[in-house]
Subunit: 222 residues, 2 copies
DNA sequence: TGACGAGGTTAACGCTGTTAAGTATAATGG
DNA sequence: CCATTATACTTAACAGCGTTAACCTCGTCA
């Protein structure tokens, strides 16, 4: 009759190619990387709520249990997906910082890069800053930079503005948090309200920058 | 031997009391209300990720299927939980608005009420504005106010500031969005980073208000 | 030859959301 | 008064999920 219920995570035809010979732990690293890549890809297609470990396993051609040989559990896998996002995110912010000639320019570039990242990577942004923002605090796995480093870059940029006399005197840390609040709020607003088009977002972005500028910058009437 | 697997959502001793006689649809409304209350209570204890329809059913003494007689599915139930939050939220914002004598006072009161709500109801705030912010756009069920109404209150307060000459001329809508960005960012920051204590949050809050004030208010040197 | 470990699988458990079908009780109509 | 019908709820199941214990199946090395 109908036998007992059974899982059927059989391998599909969509299987991994036969891998060329490799050293032991290079091989290990390889498959780990393959699983993580599949996870990132799946996440970017499905988003947070429909992300499933079993689907990642199917996509790689492994059984679900194999995933546990390379990641502690689903949450650990998802954490690594988020860390991939943070890596990307930090790089863009650093590039922005490096692109500016003056402290103010550097700070504004960081702000714009932040917003751009959010708008261009909505699913990752949601994961990193809205759905699983606790990941921000988690100790980064070896080989990854701590997300908090991006924030320190922001504090650094703000500090330069204060010390250079561009900003009114005050605690750079508190200023940086206020700046972060504003740009994060802006991105959240854009993601939350998809009916807003890029132009409207740009308008609000300019209002926000002007607000920050008038609010923080020393007013030197010519 | 061991029979087929079977669910066992048997009624527990923690059952609903025998209800006094009521009219047909009043009774219906009653149980619906009981389920929703249990859902809210469970949500406030467990948060978004561990919220389960079956647990709600168990808490009420009903079977899971019964829940489907009163709510379309789990998401609908969760949506109503969020709407309860919005009801509360809108009320507090309206009280804040009413409490101010001048346009500026009203606006500041709204901002402070917003932040207070977020800090006092973190799980609900996360649900409403971070985890399931799409609920904001959803058509409210009969008997509930649209969440967007709270935002219109904010726009109204900002408009009064502009029209009263307190703010520099500009689009009240864009200003309101910028203000919302700032307070939402602030609350997000506080919830994301639980290591920040109330005092530190208060500091950043003041910085943010000062920034908004200098950024938006007409500077009239005495 | 035999022990061993690395890399992977099988089969299950318990949980979840969800649905089709059934049941008991109350209300209603001829 | 009995038959019907609707109401309120349950039973039993399905499929999917995360997770685990136990088991293979090799290649390596003593």
């Amino acid at each position: 009759m109908d036998r007992q219920r059974q899982d059927h995570d059989r391998k599909r035809s969509t299987t991994r190619p036969p891998s060329p010979p490799l050293s032991a732990d290079a091989q290990q690293h390889e498959t780990r990387r393959a699983i993580l890549n599949a996870a990132v890809q799946l996440f970017m297609k499905q988003g947070y709520r429909d992300f499933s470990l079993r689907q990642v396993a199917r996509a790689t051609g492994y059984t679900p249990t194999t995933v546990y040989l390379y990641f502690k559990d689903k949450d650990d896998l998802l954490f690594h997906v988020a860390m991939e996002g943070f890596k990307h995110f930090c790089r863009e912010l650093e590039e922005a910082y490096a692109s500016g000639a003056t402290p103010i320019e550097r700070l504004v570039a960081i702000g714009r890069a932040y917003v751009r990242f959010g708008l261009n990577n909505p699913l990752h942004y949601r994961l990193m800053f809205m759905e699983r923002d606790e990941f921000l605090q988690r100790e980064p796995p070896p080989g990854f930079v701590a997300p908090v480093q991006a924030f320190e870059l922001l504090v650094q940029a703000v500090r330069e503005c204060v010390e250079g006399g561009y900003f009114r005197p005050g605690d750079p840390w508190a200023y940086a948090l206020a700046v972060w609040s504003t740009v994060h709020g802006l991105v959240s607003l854009a993601l939350t309200n998809p009916s807003l088009d890029r132009e409207q977002i740009a308008t609000i972005e300019e209002v926000a920058y002007e607000m920050m500028q008038r609010g923080l910058v020393v007013q030197t009437p010519p």
